[in-house]
Symmetry: C2
């Protein structure tokens, strides 16, 4: 499927048919997510992958009981990682020593942010990874539903997340049991100027 | 080009060769951006498209003089639109009257946000549109460079932006005059849990 067709045909699936996605397809999707770009390549994200039905059932009431949570094959919980410096130090070990100037620039950037700014910044990056999940799902032959309507604090508790991980968006994936409605978008003239 | 190859082959281009992208390709890219998903489908973004060299030259010093700004074919300035209610009222006119419950939910959401929260929320959505620009460019046969390193206030002044539009990310596009370096990413085990 061409990228143009992916973009036109993906839709926010409201009901999945509970059929599991084969592991090989999941592995391909996770690679597409992992390769997403991020500012400075800091990759300030971690993604919890949930297949266990009991956990989905626990999370459902904190997601407005939306049926995607319990009918999906895999529930991806996209978390922003606010411990930016930790990621920079990991990157420093992976980069050529000649990149030290770049590493120092990243460190300066991280130190310049308040906790709230670091959280907002990391959350923005998460949406680049989320976009690859959404488009990647359609490319690999299944469906997805990006969701923000959930209680992040309760998710953190149920999933025992450390305090540096902030649940930011959900992306249940699976095979749609509903059909796409026509896309409604503002006109080109309205968006571009 | 398959989506997998797009994701693997796109890279943050540091130098473009100044050759203009044909208008037809630009139109296709803008459609891919326009079709991006957003929370509630509120599409809280506007994108300034700059081809004029004099404007690029004015913006360059406020973008750390990075050569992408002046060597690209088109400079896309992705702005978050903090006037969320305005978009909801536009959507209300486009939606079926039966969707009134949904419209009221959107209005309640918009009213629940402080100005700062509305800005952060809108900025997050912008990255979904930005992702389509990045992947779309490679799909259409050219290159891009997502950038956050610029002075948003000076951009607003130079571009005479109204106060509800917050420049959030740049995406210069064009034909790369450099080559991709190997992708460095954290391992699957490090990202997914």
């Amino acid at each position: 499927m061409e990228f143009k067709d992916i973009v036109q045909n993906r839709f926010a699936t409201k009901f999945f048919d509970t059929k599991p996605i084969p592991q090989q397809k999941i592995d391909e999707l996770l690679d597409l997510i992992r390769l997403a770009p991020s500012s400075f390549n800091i990759q300030p994200w971690k993604i919890k992958v949930i297949t266990d039905h009991a956990t989905k059932e626990k999370l459902a009431p904190f997601s407005w009981n939306q049926p995607q949570i319990t009918t999906c094959s895999h529930l991806l919980v996209f978390c922003a990682n606010t411990d930016i410096m930790h990621n920079i130090l990991k990157l420093e070990k992976m980069l050529d020593p000649q990149a030290q100037g770049y590493v120092d620039m990243m460190k300066g950037f991280a130190q310049s942010l308040s906790h709230e700014q670091a959280k907002s910044w990391a959350q923005r990056q998460v949406y680049l990874a989320l976009a690859n999940a959404i488009n990647g799902a359609k490319y690999l032959g299944f469906d997805s539903c990006p969701m923000e309507g959930f209680n992040a604090e309760e998710y953190s508790k149920i999933l025992h997340l450390p305090s540096n991980l902030v649940p930011t968006a959900l992306c249940p994936i699976g095979y749609a049991a509903d059909v796409a409605r026509p896309k409604i978008r503002f006109t080109k003239e309205d968006i571009f100027f």
